[in-house]
Symmetry: C2
Subunit: 358 residues, 2 copies
Amino acid sequence: MKQASLYERLHLTHPIIQAPMAGGISTPELTAAVSNNGCLGMIAAGYLDPDALLKEIKAVKKKTKNWFGVNLFVPNVYEIEDCALHTSKTLLEPIHESLHIEQHQVSLPEAKCDDDNYHQLIDLIIREKVPVCTFTFGLPSRDVIHRLKQQHIILIGTATTVKEAIEIERAGLDMVILQGSEAGGHRGTFLHTEDEGLIGLMALIPQAVRLINIPVIAAGGIMDGRALMAARCLGAAAVQMGTAFLTCTESGATDIHKQAVTKATDSQTTLTSAFSGKKARGINNTFIRMMQKHEHDLPVFPIQNALTKSIRAASSNQNNREFMSLWSGQSPMLASLQSAEELIERVMEEAEEVWNGI
Amino acid sequence: MKQASLYERLHLTHPIIQAPMAGGISTPELTAAVSNNGCLGMIAAGYLDPDALLKEIKAVKKKTKNWFGVNLFVPNVYEIEDCALHTSKTLLEPIHESLHIEQHQVSLPEAKCDDDNYHQLIDLIIREKVPVCTFTFGLPSRDVIHRLKQQHIILIGTATTVKEAIEIERAGLDMVILQGSEAGGHRGTFLHTEDEGLIGLMALIPQAVRLINIPVIAAGGIMDGRALMAARCLGAAAVQMGTAFLTCTESGATDIHKQAVTKATDSQTTLTSAFSGKKARGINNTFIRMMQKHEHDLPVFPIQNALTKSIRAASSNQNNREFMSLWSGQSPMLASLQSAEELIERVMEEAEEVWNGI
């Protein structure tokens, strides 16, 4: 029942949504390829301004007539703390030197909450009639929900605990992504400490589906037909896959990032807040190890993200994997280099095999 | 194929193994009830001496003619560090006072590795013809494996990463328990740091089953038919359930522990090494929070375990949940007070419903 309604409502042939991967990984090519192959492609608008998002939407629309979605970061209120800022700059300085970064002008976010940009993105989503909008890092306000719902845009929240899922349903969103501790990239936790929001999908989904009625989309470490069928058994109607799409031909991830993922093992990812000020899962490297002891003394998101930008860029340009954010979920051993179409076909074939084999 | 062979080899009607829960939770009543209902009951011998284990085996044999198993801790080599010992005693002293523990004679393990007791337990398992033996915290030696295999005892290792699972297969064990990060109680990690061994089952199982051929038993947060079927889709032949059996009538967990589990939510468990010196998952409380900052300065397992014994006992006797180890997996919201028979029946019914509903 839930599943049928989700398929129809998201215009899906297969129960797969491509995770929005900010920082250039989710290209219009990837988004469109996913949507053209019976799944839902997503634009990652978390770090975009309205001009950049408009460009992405137009590029996707050129490449597909099918549905796609946009993901937004719900802005958090933050303070710029001088002491944390000083600590971070002190720790990053020797890294700048070692990477020969001479000019590293940091443009720190000015406001205490980047609300303006967010509201302009909402306006744009309405104007461009984007059919699906997902949210990370919190709940959109009543007003935002009301405006988007008036345009019949489907709204999907991201939860990392049962309580967050319940709040998303209460707020009136249409569906919920349950992000397990297995997931790569940033944690979506917003009602708990980041440690409290680390629930494995095997535990998170069955507890959540007993208490909520909106359809559930499972995210975290899902990269093959086995995990797709497992997520459905647990009570999810569909899955969201990030790392699996990250190594696809159409993804904008650098080769060094793709190689790092395909060569990693399950025990080589770790959680760090050193890149952005918010916890995220990626492949362990020198930067993460150097900063580990100091994580609690660094500025919050998005300040730390701005401070490490030049380091991440230089490291990537120099083909040095040790100072880049190599986001990955906990199943890198299932990653392979292929087109999005090949990936989707393989996963759906495997899912059928799993089903017939039990 | 793998599953059929596992059912037969473990004499199972249902693909469920009861997790061995040390410290008096796995009673002979629980073990026998599980075995009498088509599943495999387990004796937790981790903290037992040969006399105590013999008593448990005899009690179980009185109550069931069916197969059951014994779980052993593979002894680790450890050092008693004076500085860590001093830190721990200093931190625990005010807790002793607040709980009015006047005499707290600590009998610290004498040897650097408690090998003698372990080998006596092995001898006993052979003498008593226990049909199944599972291992936690490491690989048994070649000699131990050889001796047990000669008696056709089925040997099962515990892995928390793909690499550990591969090593267990290589060593010649018959099956492997994959312990996901969702699991309650102690982490079985032995080839990695404890942080590296925290893989969610959704990621751990599909990566492991591609590289190993021995049957897989999934453990961690599995408490209902949804998770049972999910584990099978991922590639496991059976599941091991701990917390689900902990709140059963036949379990020896204190009422205060059972109540704490049934009232907890998914985000209220946490990992701590403060109780024993080894990381374990339980419901957060005052003791865990007090010790959190100092975890890295405490003695290793089993020294810290000996040091906190009187505190855990006094807290339990005083019906004070704040200084006890309230082990629980990440799905406490699925726990209920019932008999083992009722639990097994419900899980199997749910599993069938899940199967028919997809």
